[in-house]
């Protein structure tokens, strides 16, 4: 059988992969693709501006096709088909005959008919080539405008910001953003969130022209107003690529799309259409999951089966510019037919809406903005028409702890579709677990679940845990294949058996040869237990590379050096010393977000020399590398500030000097503010201290970063000594019980009993371990040594800091820099 596929996009590729997996004897598979690259992940297209390379985005490397007997013609669009002769002809002149022809031509961006769209500076957002053009243009652009405030428009706007265009406006014709997915109130919250990020938004704005004289300069609206812009991205919808099909006489819809039946056949029985070019019951499905389902159904029918397509749910969940947005089922059914519950928190930027049947028994759909953690479960309830058992409002607030969420998964019927991208049911996942695939990766590999968008990962993980539990297996969060223990268990075992090196630990309580997961985890435990110099006792190669070189490896393979500056206080002499050293070793310098000075671009061989000079000037290891205490920020405090209640700088220095170098499951940050104005942002730190009239308030388990979370008050009005004791206990308890790479916020979120429990342990000593925790912390504090100094003064360690072991004086010749604002920078990833 000879099958020709036109289009090598996401769905076309999926078709090929699934067909190849069926191992059909005598199959000849030929694919024509118009783009220069083989199929790539369009869904994550925007991450191209965010560090991903084209190679990262490819769905399969080029050689996959040849390896699997697929003949792929790239950059060669099909120009003509002859259904009578059963042949296709491509631009290059290649003609192929076929038994079965499959259209997977996708869509193109729809450009509304208006004057000015053909000028320089006007873009659409669809292919990697489009993005490349934008990238080039963005270097000169100062203002961007995106026409269309739908899902893609918002993504395009984010990309403009990623490209460095701070002044970006979204223009939407409808009165709200994402008009197809969310309602007016939800849109208002989303809009506010986006505006705080710096995006400008204009709704009710009907664009009628693009201004400019060959080069775009702005856009004009129906009401005569205009806005200036030199980069304009049109994201006004999609247009199915049906031109070739239409010219070959296949039936197409009045608004585009190749008409297919429920077997994905066009009006010619041996010609199929799948993905975004296919029109099924007057609908074009603009998402991958339905396209993948169509690919499956087409294959089944081509191979003699008779599965049929029954439409597809258009629920979506995404993260837009860092804000969760989800809509599922029917987001806005007619108001008189349903009961609606809405939850709104304007300050936190959270909006949730669910629609239920009149009697409150069944979910119809809803909208989640700002917090979409309940999405998977709600979607399942809609899809499986599950009865609402508890109070309807509980549905809205979502599962409050993982326990309940997982219990929810258990309640799903066996045929519930857990992974909609890959069509994997609950039963299939449970079966895989019962067959012995007991880890997430194993289940992923065996079932294919979670290999596309990844949105179903939390549910898959819950299912694994609960299937194992239901089999009576003790589910442990084991570290990796080399250790059958969790981090907490390992910590206790290492301590009880008094093990001091990675190899000892592996020999005594592990098996195999270790890996990059258990080595740093064990090293961190050893460091927090014994406080030995991190590179001592042959432990250096069990350290993460950053710990091993006591510096962060950065783009280009050079390192950054960040001397410790406790509390952010620094003398002019020290400032000059840093300046002089940075100049001498040609380092790029920048003030960090944590009141330090970052020096980038140091060759590995220069590290000991740089440290030596820094040490001579009175600096010490700043643990910007490794999972350790990073910084204790401070505000000005009572020494200078007219509001300051206490001397926050002195206290911050004291705290930082106490915990410097402390190794933990993850990095730790802290801050001290001199009054409630909170200039040091102490409430976004793992532990933060704020001066009060009567002493210090201690806040814990806050987190900045990608998932910000406010710290919670642990104890109020403490004197300086008590505050330190509580911090000792808190940090030591965290170090002993948290999983690897878990920040304090996540640790607390998972803790049964939450902050009340933690307060009982730390403040009320409910477990009777406070004394022990304090003693252990004191031992670590006492054993602190500057790690850089150890290297500088130990010839054997110092010798390790070379690029070539057989040419120690030579620097890595492949390291390259570019100029940036009078300094150097690493060259871009290729």
């Amino acid at each position: 059988m000879k099958i020709v596929v036109i289009g090598n996009g996401m769905v076309g590729f999926k078709f090929c992969r699934k067909l190849v997996e069926r191992k059909v004897p005598g199959l000849e598979l030929i694919v024509f693709g118009e783009e220069r690259l083989p199929a790539y992940d369009r869904v994550h297209l925007s991450s191209y501006f965010d560090g991903k390379s084209t190679a990262d985005l490819l769905l399969a490397p080029k050689n996959w096709y040849a390896d699997n007997g697929v003949r792929l013609h790239l950059g060669d669009p099909v120009h003509h088909i002859s259904p009578g002769l059963q042949t296709v002809t491509a631009k290059s002149g290649i003609t192929e005959s076929y038994d079965i022809l499959v259209f997977a031509t996708g869509s193109s961006a729809f450009v509304p008919p208006m004057p000015g769209t053909d000028q320089k500076g006007v873009f659409v957002y669809r292919t990697l080539d489009d993005l490349d053009h934008m990238k080039t243009a963005a270097r000169k652009a100062r203002r961007a405008a995106v026409i269309g405030g739908g899902l893609l428009g918002l993504e395009a706007a984010k990309s403009c910001m990623d490209l460095g265009i701070a002044d970006t406006t979204i223009v939407e014709y409808a009165p709200r953003l994402m008009p197809r997915q969310i309602d007016q109130n939800g849109s208002a919250i989303l809009q506010k969130q986006l505006e705080t990020l710096g995006l400008k938004i204009r709704t009710n704005a009907y664009t009628t022209s693009i201004l400019g004289d060959g080069t775009a300069t702005g856009i004009g609206f129906e009401d005569g107003s205009t806005i200036p812009a030199d980069m304009i991205v049109i994201s006004a919808g999609i247009r199915p690529r049906d031109e070739l099909a239409a010219s070959a006489g296949l039936e197409t819809g009045s608004r585009g799309g190749i008409v297919v039946n429920d077997r994905m056949q066009t009006t010619h029985a041996n010609i199929y259409a799948i993905g975004e070019c296919a029109l099924y019951q007057h609908i074009i499905y603009g998402l991958v999951a339905p396209g993948y389902e169509m690919a499956d159904i087409a294959i089944d029918n081509i191979l003699g089966g008779n599965r049929t397509f029954g439409g597809f749910d258009m629920s979506t969940k995404l993260k837009l510019v860092g804000v969760d947005v989800a809509s599922f089922g029917d987001p806005f059914p007619p108001p008189d037919s349903c009961r609606v519950i809405v939850f709104e928190d304007q300050v936190a930027g959270v909006y949730k809406r669910i629609n239920m049947t009149d009697d409150g028994q069944y979910l119809l759909g809803g909208i989640l903005i700002g917090d979409a953690s309940a999405y998977n479960m709600l979607l399942q309830k809609v899809k499986n028409k599950m009865k609402i058992t508890g109070k309807p409002e509980d549905e809205l607030l979502g599962a409050r702890s993982t326990g309940e969420a997982a219990a929810g998964v258990l309640g799903l019927p066996p045929d519930a579709m857990i992974c909609s991208c890959e069509s994997v049911s609950k039963a299939a996942i449970c079966q895989a677990v019962e067959d012995g695939h007991e880890t997430f990766n194993a289940v992923k590999k065996c079932t294919g679940a979670s290999t596309s968008c990844g949105g179903c990962a939390p549910m898959v993980k819950d299912l694994i845990t609960y299937t194992l539990k239901s089999q009576g297996k003790y589910v442990r969060n084991v570290l990796c294949e080399h250790f059958g223990y969790s981090r907490q268990e390992l910590y206790d075992l290492i301590k009880i058996r008094s093990l001091h090196s990675y190899d000892e630990v592996l020999d005594n309580i592990g098996h195999g040869d270790g890996c990059e997961v258990c080595k740093p985890a064990v090293s961190s435990i050893l460091a927090s237990l014994w406080g030995d110099m991190i590179l001592a006792k042959g432990n250096d190669t069990a350290q993460d590379s950053n710990d091993r070189y006591l510096a962060n490896i950065q783009k280009g393979g050079t390192y950054s050096v960040v001397p410790r500056i406790p509390g952010g206080e620094i003398t002019p002499q020290k400032l000059m010393a840093i300046g002089r050293i940075a100049e001498k070793y040609n380092l790029y310098t920048k003030i960090t977000g944590g009141q330090r000075i970052d020096m980038f671009g140091a060759h590995v061989g220069d590290l000991p020399l740089i440290w030596e000079e820094l040490i001579a000037e009175g600096f010490e290891s700043g643990h910007a590398y490794g999972k350790a205490l990073r910084t204790v920020k401070s505000c000005v405090g009572s020494t200078w500030c007219r509001f300051g209640l206490h001397d926050s700088v002195s206290y911050a220095i004291r705290v930082e000097e106490r915990y410097r170098g402390l190794r933990a499951p993850h990095k730790i940050k802290s801050a001290v503010s001199g009054c409630i104005r909170e200039c040091a942002e102490a409430q976004s730190k793992d532990f933060g201290i704020i001066a009060t009239e009567k002493g210090w308030n201690l806040y814990v388990c806050g987190n900045g970063g990608s998932k910000p979370q406010h710290a919670l008050l642990l104890a109020a009005d403490l004197d300086s000594e008590t505050c330190i004791r509580y911090i000792d206990r808190f940090l030591m308890f965290y170090i002993k019980t948290a999983d690897p790479l878990t920040r304090t916020a996540t640790w607390l979120n998972k803790m049964e009993g939450g902050i009340d429990y933690l307060r009982n342990v730390v403040v009320k000593d409910s477990l009777g371990i406070a004394g022990e925790l304090e003693r252990e912390m004191q031992a670590l504090v006492d054993s602190y040594k500057c790690e850089w100094r150890e290297v500088v003064e130990t010839p054997a360690l110092r010798k390790r800091f070379t690029h070539f072991v057989n040419a120690p004086e030579e620097k890595d010749p492949s390291v390259q820099f570019e100029q940036l604002r009078e300094q150097k920078k690493a060259v871009e990833w290729k």
Binding site: G512, C515, E516, T541, A542, Y549, G557, V805, W829
Partner: protein
Amino acid sequence: MSPITKEKTNWFFACKVEDVPANGGVCIKYKDEQIALFHFARRGEWFASQNLCPHRRQMALSRGMIGAQQGEPKVACPFHKKTFSLADGRCLSDEHECAIKVYPVKLEEDRIYIGVGGGKETSAVPA
């Protein structure tokens, strides 16, 4: 130790055993190339591979952590922790990622030699 020696293999002296940290790697300069050399002391084995991380194209693999996955020796790139088999160069963590070149290693007394130009190299690095 990697046993494969093909006729054409050209052995060059890399460094002494003592120059390589136990269970870690170093970078060897060979003409204009960079080769990562690893001493897997736990297993008494030596491995060599290209030093270039194929993912980000940076000279960094020698600084990665080595380990094993179901018995197969591997190295994790310090940049994004993608892991590569030291036995055949395959990327173990991401099927879409290119493989790396691996080279045979032999030991004579305390001297380490790396074989280039032999049959064991699996080249999959795009230029």
